[in-house]
Symmetry: C2
Subunit: 196 residues, 2 copies
DNA sequence: GACGATCTGCCTACTAGAAGGTAGATAGAT
DNA sequence: ATCTATCTACCTTCTAGTAGGCAGATCGTC
């Protein structure tokens, strides 16, 4: 027991880090092999093909995200606070360089050249985030926690685009603080005016 | 004369299209060879190494952008109109699928794994767009053509992030119209209120 | 409890094909 | 005579993936 095949988890984790920096074609089984300390062939034992590996990786990435969202919704009632926590999650990841980019953002930009099985999972991830944010916007709009100027689903897409665009800019400039600089005003705009 | 080595232009053009869909590691000299109808070795005659090829490609991409900006500034005086033309340029490219993604957006997301010579050029592209947009924001703010809620450079970064985030979302969902849906409200927000 | 059978996780050794790149020849233009 | 653009033929290294073996854990059955 104990290490109930957590080698496959290690493989997924190292693949995630590698994809995060160079995308689908930016890593190989040999790279993972070096990080995990296992032979190439042994990786094929856990994930017969590269497509299997990345499909599973993205599927879990989405499932983990869904679980986090459930917890977040349970602990934070206010819609604006939820958006702040979400933005802050990425701000931290980018600033401490732990996970400075979303795996699905990288894969989405490579989408046309991705194996279809992987592409499907990536698209599903974006649909999940989008529908979650839409629900948050709707709720916040109705109970006055958010100040929307467009329809909830449009505000959701705009917010998502801002987050992912800010992520890209941080990486492009090599300046992690750019993310918060952009998200600050975006969140202010959604904050209801206090009085009058 | 006549085709004063426009083979090298064809090589660059096909490389651009290939990078646009799969990034730096998503294409090979063999791919270009097929598109251009020339042998692999002949590509090396024009661009000794892959790094040379992509460095030159990004350098020209930036120079072309700089030239377009000069023309745009000459023909369109109003700052808000400039932003609209810029957004509309991308909206068209995405909707007619001619150039549905920015080469530098894709390369920027792969930045940590890119050869340094290429990375430098990509960063330079983003700095160029950023400083141009900042100048547009400043001018528009001063002469009342734009309604800013933050400092010009922050508005510039926010606008840039929105454009590139919207580009990514369009690709992720496979829905070109998402781009305009997001950019519409973003531009409205920058439009000065007509009366009172 | 003992004994073989299967399962799991890893290994070495290999393959075919693709990668980026080189050497050297050839034909035509200057 | 040299330069340019192309070619064929090749090299080396890396790629994903396969075949088959081996040690140890688990399991069924006597």
């Amino acid at each position: 027991m104990s290490n109930l095949s957590n080698t496959s988890d290690e493989i997924l984790a190292s693949a995630r880090n590698l994809i995060m920096s160079g995308g689908y074609n930016g890593f190989s089984y040999a790279d993972i092999s070096e990080v995990v300390g296992i032979r190439k062939a042994s990786i094929h034992h856990h994930f017969p093909s590269k497509v299997d590996l990345v499909r599973e990786l993205v599927k879990r990435y989405r499932e983990d995200g869904q679980a986090s969202v459930v917890t977040l919704e349970q602990n934070v009632p206010d819609a604006l606070d939820i958006l702040k926590v979400y933005a802050n999650h990425w701000a931290k990841c980018i600033e401490d360089a732990s996970r400075p980019y979303c795996v699905c953002a990288l894969l989405a930009s490579e989408l046309p050249s991705l194996p279809p099985e992987v592409a499907t999972e990536v698209t599903a991830f974006f649909r999940f985030i989008s529908s979650w944010l839409t629900a948050v916007m709707e709720r916040g709009s109705k109970n006055g926690a958010l100040n929307l100027t467009s329809e909830p689903h449009i505000e959701a897409e705009a917010f998502l685009a801002t987050v992912y665009g800010a992520m890209l800019s941080s990486r492009a400039y090599g300046k992690p603080e750019v993310f918060s600089t952009i998200l600050g005003p975006a969140l202010s705009r959604l904050t209801p005016t206090v009085s009058h």
